[in-house]
């Protein structure tokens, strides 16, 4: 990973946006028959997962 890519991915990870490339790679490898979410759907799904439910804990 280049330094810029590393920083960008770390920054996204800090606000709970995981790697879309990693998701596509996983889907291609394990579920080649299923249609993966597109990037926008993926983003919204992860946003809801981070803030909408029980995972919203953050420290004092």
């Amino acid at each position: 990973m280049s330094l810029f890519a590393l920083i960008a991915e770390t920054a996204r990870s800090m606000v709970g946006v995981p790697s879309y490339a990693a998701y596509r790679a996983h889907m291609a490898e394990h579920h080649p028959d299923a249609a993966p979410m597109d990037q926008v759907a993926f983003f919204r799904d992860r946003q809801q997962a981070r803030y909408g439910g029980k995972g919203g804990g953050r420290c004092c």
Binding site: L6, E9, T10, M14, V15, D45, Y51, G56, G57, R58
Partner: protein
Amino acid sequence: MIGWGALALLGATALGVVATTRGEHVNALWIVTAALCTYFIAYRFYGRFIATKVLGIDPGRPTPAVRRADGLDYVATDRRVLFGHHFAAIAGAGPLVGPVLAAQMGYLPGTLWILAGVVLAGAVQDFCVLFISMRRDGRSLGELVRMEMGVVPGIIALIGAFAIMVIILAVLALIVVRALAESPWGLFTVTMTIPLAILMGCYTRWLRPGRVGEVSVLGIIGLLAAIVLGGQVAASSWAPFFTLTPVQLCFALIGYGAVAALLPVWLLLAPRDYLSTFLKIGAIVALALGIAIMAPPLRMPALTPFIHGGGPVWSGTLFPFLFITIACGAVSGFHALIASGTTPKLIASEGDAPFIGYGAMLAESFVAIMALVGASILDPGLYFAMNSPAAIVGVTPDSAAAAVTAMGFPIDAATLVQTARDVGEHTVISRTGGAPTLAVAMAEIFSHVVGGPAMKAFWYHFAILFEALFILTAVDAGTRAGRFMLQDLLGLVSPRFRDGEAWGPGLVATFLCVGAWGFFLYQGVTDPLGGVNTLWPLFGISNQMLAAVALVLATVVLFRMKRARYAWVTTLPAAWLVACTGTAGFQKLFHPDPAIGFLAHASKFGAALAEGRVLAPAKSLDQMARVVMNDRIDAGLCALFLGVVAAIVIYGIRACIAANAVSTPTVTETPMTEAVA
């Protein structure tokens, strides 16, 4: 090995300078050096010892991210990326505020506790909980306690976690109120973040979905513009609209909390989280660079007379109250919730766990050290004028200067007036809560590096904005998390509450949650002693209580793994925390001095009330009755915390004895051989 020896020598020298110099100003870089050396050595030796010997980390064992990989929640993540994720989740306002308050005893006690606490307790707790959760599919703290200790302790831990959430939200909101009351510049700037975040939310929803980096850059430009504009608003005829009293701000915050927690997450919460996270990381890095460049001397003495009690910022003696005042930064129970949250589902290999669990906590501790340095580079007279309640120092520069000088920290009224003018505020007197003090210190450091004295007001409001922004994010996210915790708990009684999606139970739980922290916030805001005095110790006790619960869990797990010979690693810090929270809780309840004991305070005011007398600072019999009721509620809460700790300790000892009686391991880890999904 020679390198490590040299590092140890450097660290020991720096610590020696910090600990023994008296009567002249020590440079802040000595503390920074001592801290960094301590961290590196602790990570290399103690962290590795815990990983290999105590826990038996096995890099070959598949982690949840590998076994249950789904590309969404369970993703094997680069350790450097995950470090950032974990650090951003654990670093909040706690490590910034606690050390500032603790500076009333001088810089030395706080420094030593932050360093010893993080190495032996805080980082150990984070690492152990991360390990335990990682071996159990990333389950949460409540579930882990239930699995390893039983159903009843699991429920007790959930109740404890909810209570701590309420107190955290109340005390954080109180800090915002104290920082923004009567400050049109600060309030305007912070208010502007709401429309700004909503614009950002719409941008990421419809215009350019998912472009987080882009929208964050735009947002931060907007924030800086809001700071500049705020200065002009404060100087204009609009200023009265943004000048609110603490009570008005309190109700505004309660209303905001209720509405914000019910809005869709993409509209307000998510975009503001982007802003607050990046601003937080940026400000922390800038502060570290600023301290390194400026190399300021510490003007606070190493020790003040208040180590024996009687301090104006918070009551009580060094033991046990210092150890609950600095919670985050040394050891924070709240991290047990984070370390059993998203992080264990993202670890690529067990070998990464020490770096994430132990390492990120060391980084958070460094934030606490910087906050302590910030508070200690200020003129101690200014520090006490800012952090003492108005009931002690009055509200005018003359009264404050006289009162603080009488404490033994000479300062003149003109300096107080000039400081307020420099940072663009009406007054700096009795701006309690820690945030304004840190903001003055950051303005001092940043303006030294960029902009000079003319930029001080800008940097002060930048610092206030940075603190207020992530506190508001925490209030919003915490209210949502508290709502789900409450629904889980109410679901034990009435299963209808379990439904996370249903509208009615969600609304009820949200209002209950806001009502709970709102009550303590209102109590703190109307408390004549400033509220920080009462709420911060309660927060510290609850946070350290949760840490004790997590360390007891770790001890039980070690016993059940048949690794009891290493159990001292978790037992010693657990025992220390039980001793601190136990003593502090007991003193808060039963101490005969009304300044410390809730019940003594209640009976003093109750007796006066019965005779129809009004005791200062109450102004009417109504207020007298309220003081008594508040005291009793605080006492009840304190008793609840003590009960939680006692129950968990008893259950923990029973579980350890039971595990000892069996000759084979009894832990319930996910088996290594379970079919790979």
